[in-house]
Symmetry: C2
Subunit: 401 residues, 2 copies
């Protein structure tokens, strides 16, 4: 009998940013955060976990390449914690249950987006790892409980255990047991929430978020004010905006929080920069787009947000996506026929809406934005069929060629 399970897990992009840990080994954050889960039809990590008494050690392959599981490292912690849950919740209660917690595991994981796209894969990756082990171990499927473990792999991974709009409650306990993800609203609540990812070319490798955020905690005089006096109200206000499907408020808070995250990064010593001139130009274009929209209707129509890198994610309602892509390709031209819209939108060579001041940005050279990904809000981890397994009969990763 083969004990194995394959799951996929989504990427999430925060609207209220996580930046700073109060406990670096348990990965407990200095503030709560909130994200939108993106559709696995477009971006996902897929993971197969297999337990077998013949395996001599825990092993893991990422995109076909073996990663060393360091003792006491993040992957090791997640695997150990999942084995512990298997024992406590299944084996200790049912003497007939196979003792999978005593077997070593082989894990193969695959991201369907290139690492070079600059999209954080650790969130979807650790969410897929934890959910595949949960399926392998037939654990009661409470995503908040699993999020406690995914969090110890990569903080933001805890938010990828749910679809829709997801809050990571910072918690106050030193054990971290109250620092988990909860769903604010499922994807079905606001299915017209779409996202456009602008993949920005960047020569320079930025500061890793793990070391960057701790430098901010140690040196930024502004961070504590953000944590104590800004984020709590934003969490409350954006949660209400989501429940009310109030895009204008959702967008304003999302943009302000992206900018404030980059502001505290800049208030760090030495300062940390993730956005570059192309990122700044995308902000200028979206701000002008919103200025025109506010003039007409009083409400903004798009929200940019930037994580620890130069890529923009633009949230908008489905009805505005075509107009926004046209605008983006006007300033950031794409090679002919390079962009195929998965929703069937026909995009021309770019134009701006009426009343738009084109002087807010120059037309950049082809390749400045090196790719566009149009996606939408999506669901949480999915259990996949046996035919999707990433491991071959020997328990080694299948060739993906």
């Amino acid at each position: 009998m083969v004990f194995q399970a394959t799951t996929s897990a989504p990427v999430n992009i925060a609207c209220i940013k996580y930046w700073g840990k109060r406990d670096t080994s348990l990965i407990l954050p200095t503030n709560s955060s909130l994200s939108v889960t993106l559709d696995q039809d477009h971006l996902r990590s897929t993971t197969t976990s297999r337990a077998d008494p013949s395996f001599t050690s825990d092993r893991l392959w990422l995109n076909g390449k073996e990663e060393i599981i360091k003792d006491g490292g993040r992957m090791s912690t997640c695997i150990k914690e999942m084995k512990r849950l298997r024992k406590e919740l299944v084996e200790d209660k049912d003497p007939n249950a196979p003792k999978l917690s005593t077997f070593s595991v082989h894990i193969a994981s695959y991201n369907n987006f290139p690492t070079a796209a600059g999209l954080a894969s650790s969130a979807s990756g650790f969410a897929a790892l934890v959910s595949s082990l949960a399926a392998l171990y037939t654990l009661p499927s409470n995503p908040s409980t699993l999020s406690l473990i995914a969090r110890q792999g990569s903080g933001s991974a805890c938010r990828s255990l749910f679809g829709g709009f997801v809050a990571w409650e910072q918690g106050t306990q030193s054990t971290g047991l109250d620092s988990f993800a909860v769903q604010v609203a499922p994807e079905s609540h606001w299915p017209t929430m779409h996202a456009l990812i602008c993949v920005v070319n960047d020569a320079k490798k930025g500061t890793s978020s793990t070391s960057g955020m701790q430098r901010t905690v140690e040196t930024s005089p502004l961070l504590q004010h953000r944590i104590k006096h800004v984020v709590p109200k934003r969490m409350e206000d954006i949660s209400k905006a989501i429940l009310d499907k109030d895009f204008d408020t959702f967008a304003r808070i999302t943009m302000a929080d992206s900018n404030q995250f980059h502001a505290v990064a800049l208030d760090t010593s030495p300062p940390i920069f993730y956005m570059n001139d192309v990122s700044r130009a995308i902000i200028a274009v979206v701000e002008e787009y919103n200025r025109v929209a506010v003039e007409k209707t009083g409400k903004v129509k798009a929200a940019y947000t930037f994580d620890a890198g130069p890529n923009a994610v633009i949230y908008t309602e489905q009805e505005n996506v075509k107009e926004i892509i046209e605008m983006i390709v006007k300033f950031f031209p794409q090679p002919p026929d390079s962009f195929k819209d998965p929703f069937g939108l026909q995009i021309g060579s770019g134009k701006v809406p009426e009343g738009f001041n084109e002087n807010v940005a120059k037309v950049w050279e082809v390749g400045s934005v090196k790719g566009l990904i149009h996606t939408k809000i999506g669901d949480g981890p999915r259990k996949l069929g046996e035919e999707e397994t990433l491991l071959n009969a020997e328990g080694l990763p299948k060739s993906l060629a």
Copy 2:
């Protein structure tokens, strides 16, 4: 008899940044600030003021081009205030004094640096305006008193009334009478304080500082924390560092405050960016230079600071200037023979100090940094001789050709 006077006034570059007004018409700041006055041998505004009963209105020419003096505008306010001082302090006390306060004035002003250099000329310009009128009107020369008037022309102009290290005390009174400049230390206290200005090419016109700072006051959640809890201690600490000639502390505070100013600009809605990718690269190079210095001696050797634009000003001790210019031209090459050092330094084609990690920045194309200005700390406004007058016999600006 011709009543006229010519003075020159210096540029100043803040170490603790002024950003935000509590009173926009009196130009009262939300926080105190502190600057270094740069040498007028290199950068200066020169102004001739003449009072004559034949003049029919106050007129002003900047670099040969007439500027309209708007009623209630900043130039008008400064001229009116200076006439009031003339009347109160001179004419009301001495019945024989000519009634210059009743005459119109012609004013010609000239900046010896190109506006295109992107250096703020309003500080030196208003300081020269006020000091030339003070000389014309034979006012008792108390720079702090004059700074009250220069402040109403352009906030940071008040700091150009002194040489050396200058604090602008924010004050608390609604009249603004306690919001003036004071000298922390004269230029003779620390004559080895040098400055290297890197003039950065920028396609895009940034947000004006006048409108930008008020947008920050209105929308940045972080600004109030900066004002109340960060700046007061920095003012105290940097003043002490100056008195102690403690370059390490001076530099660390200067860099942190530049970064924090740009952080609150970014925390504004819509966000304000003044630094571009070249500015960021200069920061990376100076930070690496300091990292190497700290490793060797425990102390930093250079301090970058950026005002409301992409240009860097690098403060350093005289002994390090050559090394720093060599390093800057390594990453930001200059056209052959374009840089002539006024202090006679012989600069090669660029090199970095031992132990310096060259991967912190790429080598930029020629023109990215379009000019270098090496200068040093300098004195306050200077009264110039009659031969320096900028007005001809008719009271019109002399041709400068």
